[in-house]
């Protein structure tokens, strides 16, 4: 181990966020606040999430969590849409919400002197949104437009099909922004009741990073959100189990008039809390990230010239998100690309990665940390990530050792648990085969 570590980058651990530079406070109402100072630039970033997402909506209302999150800034008890955005934009600040399966996230940025204003707006939007009918109607129209665009997007359609095949009868099979037929009937009353039943301080996390003293940042959040109570806040329903794939499940969506096919191939992967997660993440880097997109990039793009992009991704969130390979290929080359990708997956689960691949990817995982944590946005997201997955405030200090201790066998074991070349969901979207 000593010899191996000598070849890996050595970081200045004190420069990374740790228990001595992160302030954490848990409020009686359940909100966790994290703060880290950075006076290198005059800005401040807030980032966080609430424990509400698409899992809380009924299937016939798919897209409700997303629409509700987008509507939070469309009017509050004290401020109109116009006033909210006039106050944000006139100082060059931003604030936005977005909803996923498990959580609703938010992020804001301003010059440090304007933190109070951003927090006032955040507090208003979370606690007192009014969902004015005119605004909701307009927002729904904008959402329907983006759904129409999505339905013509080969990448989005391939993802959609993949999720249907990989997660049959599971909430992960439904896109978070819903469908035209489920979004069209949604109105202010739906948003109001969804907000009342699911938005609350329980499970909320917020980080504040930038040119603000940490203690002042904690106080600024607590003074606004410390009194928030919602006795009607419902706990999130448990995630149903995901059934493993038993063979190749495949579907092609024909979108006429397009030039290229998008291809998504993979299976349900580990959640972030899975003990094999880090080994799987390193394996994923070997498979489809490292250098010019790993083994997949080498085989599909570099060796065969089949695609402009080809890579893999491991989502690793709260639940068993997918482990996927994505590529954009000419319709005539779809079968060849699938064949090559399956060949690479077969090799990946048959033999351990090489010692050189292990060392290269360990070095990459450790060496890229300072860059990931360069900006306030990067640190704010990292603090939220650590809190969300219970990794501990010392996670980034321990991280180099965690990565260095991974073995080739652990990576192989993780790969075998989640990937199999003959048990895959394959989604393809694009022009018909004869269009090339």
């Amino acid at each position: 181990m000593a010899e191996k570590q000598a070849t890996l980058p050595r970081l200045d651990l004190r420069a990374l966020p740790g228990p001595d530079t992160i302030r954490r406070r848990e409020l009686p109402n359940g909100i966790v606040i994290l703060a880290r100072e950075n006076f290198a630039s005059p800005s401040v970033v807030i980032s966080g999430y609430l424990s509400v997402g698409a899992l809380d909506e009924r299937p016939e209302q798919a897209g409700l969590a997303d629409l509700t999150a987008s509507a939070l800034l469309r009017g509050t008890r004290g401020r109109s849409f116009q006033q909210i955005f006039e106050s944000l934009e006139s100082i060059g600040a931003s604030l936005g919400f977005g909803s996923g399966k498990h959580t609703t996230g938010f992020q804001g940025k301003s010059l440090a002197e304007d933190l109070g204003l951003i927090l006032d707006l955040l507090c208003d939007a979370l606690r007192m949104p009014t969902f004015p009918k005119r605004q909701v109607d307009r927002l729904r129209g904008e959402k329907l437009t983006s759904l129409a665009i999505r339905d013509q997007d080969t990448g989005a359609r391939a993802q959609q099909v993949f999720h249907q095949l990989a997660y049959p009868n599971h909430p992960y099979s439904v896109p978070s922004d819903g469908f035209r037929e489920t979004v069209e009937p949604l109105g202010p009353a739906d948003l109001k009741s969804f907000h009342t039943e699911h938005y609350g301080p329980q499970g909320m996390v917020i980080s504040v990073v930038g040119a603000v003293e940490a203690e002042a940042a904690l106080e600024a959040v607590e003074s606004r959100l410390g009194t928030w109570r919602n006795l009607r806040q419902m706990p999130q329903p448990p995630l149903p189990p995901v059934k493993p794939l038993r063979g190749i499940r495949r579907k092609r969506v024909v979108l006429r008039g397009k030039s290229q096919c998008d291809l998504v191939l993979g299976a349900p992967g580990p959640s972030r809390s899975d003990p094999d997660f880090l080994a799987a993440a390193l394996g994923n880097s070997v498979l489809g990230r490292f250098g010019m997109m790993g083994r997949i990039g080498d085989a599909v793009r570099e060796a065969e010239g089949l695609a402009y992009y080809a890579y893999s991704n491991l989502s690793g969130g709260t639940g068993p998100g997918p482990w996927q390979v994505m590529a954009g290929v000419n319709p005539a080359n779809v079968e060849r690309a699938i064949e090559i990708i399956r060949r690479e997956i077969r090799r990946f689960v048959k033999r351990p990665i090489t010692q050189q691949e292990l060392l290269d990817n360990q070095a990459n995982f450790i060496g890229r940390l300072p860059l990931q944590l360069e900006s306030n946005e990067g640190v704010a997201a990292a603090l939220v990530y650590v809190e969300r997955h219970g990794l501990g405030l010392d996670y980034y200090r321990r991280y180099p050792d965690l990565v260095a201790s991974l073995t080739r066998e652990q990576v192989l074991q993780a790969a075998r648990r989640f990937l199999h070349p003959d048990r895959l969901a394959i989604g393809v979207a694009g022009p018909p085969k004869d269009a090339s």
Partner: protein
Amino acid sequence: MKAVNSPVLRTRLRNGLVVRLKEVHTASLVSSWIWYRVGSRDERPGITGVSHWVEHMQFKGTPRFPAGVLDRAISRDGGFWNAFTWIDWTAYFETMPADRIGLALELEADRMVNSLFDPPEVESERTVIISERQGHENEPTFLLAEEVQAAAFRVHSYHHEVIGDMVDLQSMSREDLYGHYRRHYVPSNAVLVLVGDFRTRTMLRRVRETFGEIPRQPPPERPSRPEPPLRGERRVEVQGPGETPYLEVAYRAPAGDDPDFFPMAVLDSVLSGASSLNLFGGGISNKTSRLYQALVARGLAASVRGDLSATLDPYLYTLWVTVRPDRTPEVALKAFDQQIERMLEAPMDGGELAKAVKQARALFAYSSESITNQAYWIGYTEMFADCGWFESYLERVASVTPEDVLRVARKYMLPSNRVVGIYRPVEGEAYG
């Protein structure tokens, strides 16, 4: 930790390589950028897309760093790297841990001269680039933008898209590519920018050691064929799949070093919202801009945005409207034109101007937070002016008056100076 930002050191090596160095000690990182004064502007019909393809070939190896070796080396060190080709320039960057930046310098010096352009690699990359173009063609906005650009420039080589025309991608030869590389990738046609955690004197010595031995060659000629005035509005229409119409209105705009550029930037901010100065996104919303209010807030469009780029020759100020499927582009254009009329009629009020200036100040501060972004701006501005352009950016935005904005509006925002493009979706069997 306080920011310790030094001024930019400006120098030039004997072989003509322009060097810009700036110390920033906020993180133990260095960002290295090399910019070549070559882009799609330097292409003629038959070899359109050659600059971008050359950029791809720069990742295919040299005798010293064969394909696969250099990307492995950069990635191993936790580096972040990429390249861009645009109408005026081609740029390559690596952002690395400070103690590993030597690798980036050696790599860039090496591939300025020694790239192989191995014939089988050229052929393999041909299909990759065709695939990249086909990916673009999947997007209605690409199809429309390509036609609008062609309608806006009949004479000037801004006529074609950076990716190139399909016919040229199919027919271009290895000799076309290699010749383009040899002509344009010379020290006297390049700008090297380094920003980050280093000592200027030490870094300059290192730059001299690494790049100084590359022989001097005269810079390539970059002839330009100025575009005559439009003399009347052009309209183009593109049909394609989907159900969402798009509207693209492109006005001929001043070049980046034209004094009119700054009033135009303020005009853009008021009309369509403040533009982010960040390379990788992170701007602010535009919901109080005039066009959002007139189009999105009235339910005619789903979104609107503007794009004013700083370029070497006069290019385009482009406004994009995503029309709602239940509305027509004609109705959206009518509402759009009312706002342009308003801009031409009277000076904006002081409040709008003050807002644009404050937004610029905040976005400028955000843009300085990443060393990669700082290096990007220093290099980018060298491509059409010099890095003083960015250093004086805020000052020049702050000195713009409502009358200046009215003057440039009346000069550039005229129907006779624009191309109006409409993407009209055609559903169903039209694509059978």
